[in-house]
Amino acid sequence: MAAIPLPDHSHALEHVEAPATTGLNHRKLLMWAFLGSDCLLFGSLITTYMIYRGKSITEPINPRHVFNIPYTSVSAFVLLMSSLAMVLALAAIQHGDVRRMRIWLCATAFLGMVFLGGQFYEFTTFATVHHLTIQGNIFGTTFYILTGFHGTHVTVGVIWLLSLVAGSFQGRIKQKNSLDVEIAGLYWHFVDIVWIIIFTLVYLVPAI
């Protein structure tokens, strides 16, 4: 059998991805679907916390005796500001300014880490001063697992943002793929909104 001349790739017609039916990018839709799913995850954890509120048998039982609202308000504010930094990072890359995006992404990640550090300090205080531990009673269990899942989401976000920064040094992040930053931004804002909800339901409501 004679060798069959295979066509020259440069004339290949079907190189491009098929156009999306809705016009929206697949990965952006994926992030929205994932966040929708994540709502149910946090919803279940928050529901568990709310059902068990006040039901512990051993101390500490009343959250008002444990929480330091002013302190947690500051850390919530830090997280809110990180979302602002994220918005600025996205705006930067959409204008093609990779350097400025890098700065704002680092700021976002930094503020996220400040938030996490603040939580670490806050929780060690709860454990040592108020004896609120994860095994101690239902309050400890539900509180730390709920905030722990949130903290894990923040940590994943920080790693993601820093890897975007690293990628930008390799020239992987450009104006035309600003979608990559936008998708990370969606995730980051979601995690921030979840904290607003947790802060309200867990910290603020019992304090009224």
């Binding site: 079907e14 098929a18 929206l24 279940s44 512990s56 697992i145």
Partner: protein
Amino acid sequence: MAAISPAQVAQPAARTEVPPGYQEGWWSWITTVDAKRIGILYGVSAFIFFIIAGIEAEIMRVQLFQPGMKVVSADLFNQLFTMHGTAMVFLVIMPMGAAFFNFIVPLMIGARDVAFPRLNAWSYWVFLAGGLLLHMSFIFGGAPNVGWFGYANLTEKQFSAGHGVDFWLFGLQLLGFASLAAAFNFMITIINMRAPGMKMMRMPPFAWMTLFTTFLMILAFPVLTVALFELMFDRFVGTNFFETAAGSQPLLWVHLFWIFGHPEVYILILPAMGVISEIVTTFSHKPLFGYPVVVFSGMAIAFFGFGVWAHHMFSVGMGPIADAVFAIFTMIIAIPTGVKVFNWIATLWGGNVDFKSPLYFALGFISMFILGGLTGIMHAEPTPDLQQHGTYFVVAHFHYVLYGGSIFGLFAGFHYWFPKITGRMLNERLAKLTFWVMLIGFNITFMPMHWTGLLGMPRRVYTYSPNLGVTELNEMSTIGSFILAASILIFIYNFFVSLRHGEIAGDDPWDGSSLEWATSSPPPVYNFAVIPPVYSREAFWALKYPRDGHGNPSPVRQTWKPAPEEIPISIHMPRPSIWPPVVALGLFCVLSGFIASPVLTACGLVIMFTGIAAWAMEPAGGPPSYPPHPSRPGAAQDLPTPSAVPARK
């Protein structure tokens, strides 16, 4: 330009040279990102788990043949019913559905692939890891023995000291992640990758039911994930979610589980209902009656499915108001379900009904599902349910809807799409024999259980008192189960014989209405050389029976083939990748390490993160595939049509 006859384009040609992009061998299966191959992997794995779970059921039925039998110990029996239930739900019905989602849905909507091919592969490997982890428990200290629903606080370390529950917990977590990833993938594929002209209301009903199933999955599984994490923390870290000594409420688990569990059963039935809509349409040779209503009833079932979970809990004492609300919502769900059945019957009415084996199974579905649905209505009433709950009456009900419904539906789909997947026809006589033996065996097994339950035999018992008066009924059920098993053996025989010697199917053996029949059997790796145009619902019928100037369709079936000038020179499909199985392996090690050793978890994390990084940095585009093209005279004879399954002579 040499004319290309339809026969040459349609049939897999003799093999001479394998073009780049088409791989053979076991490595190509491990690294595949081709949805069709992934569908086959799901299907084969699901069937193996079906056999295992079936054997577990047979052992149980032998043990229950008469009171006081000692075939298995109480504890082993408890492991058997736990594994049987868990496997049938998560390792059989769901992955069988996934097999069809993968192979058929992209074809049906005129797409070449799914939205995230590597994520698709990852879903399969994580599913397999979950199934393996669950079954490894048999070797490592005993399978879980707490029921497929694992009620707390029986699952706490205090009451379940061994590792069985841990295997169950981590196995289900893996299956949850796999299901979520698959659901995201198919949701976005269906929403965002339809062929031009394939508006949502022109999609085949199976694609719609798949879409609704994905919505159910992404909203229900996180709740199970949370419940399993809470149990995991209780068992490994000493938290107090279900620790009654700390004041906790075991009912929390029951609620969380059923908030997941009820949508789960709609996840199990909606795809099968989609299959029935397809088959009834094709074999009535008539469009689906009330298509928009069938679609919207699927949506209604999915939506209301989230509002009825506590009908599994009428005996826990929620109070009359909650009981009444859930009873009412449960009755409401019966309406869209019934409407679907009526629409199927109306499709058959006035049609030209061709009694081929897929239709046999579809009719089996409809008739058995009606019976299951009626006992469901009986369960919807809390007061009678206080007698029925927790007895063999429930076992009868859910086997009618899950076997009589889902499994018959999946067998229907299998008999319908086997020609498309393999290029060969199943033997019709053996297929019909399978159906009759299965229908008879199924009914002899499960019909008596309605009475067994009403006479007072609870479920999940390894023996029963002779005073109960259910001995003969149990004997009947056991005999029926062997007849049912025989039908599976006939099916397996038919499968292997037809794979080797079945009649060549051709593109379109059933005169199907949807686009999967508009390409070769099996399809090329790129699905379609040219994406067919979509002008209406039943898109392929519209192409085979084109309308004349007066709007009358051709009375004779035409052959539709793409215009040669539209065939592209080459098509790039995604490149195969090792990273999805690597990340899956890493995740498997992370979770198994909780049972085995922290070192394994640490290794798993390294493997997982390395795999994720490599995945993220891998270039996406793959090598080209070459559809038979008129610019290369004689090419159709020389180049085989690259396909998912190697062509056979």
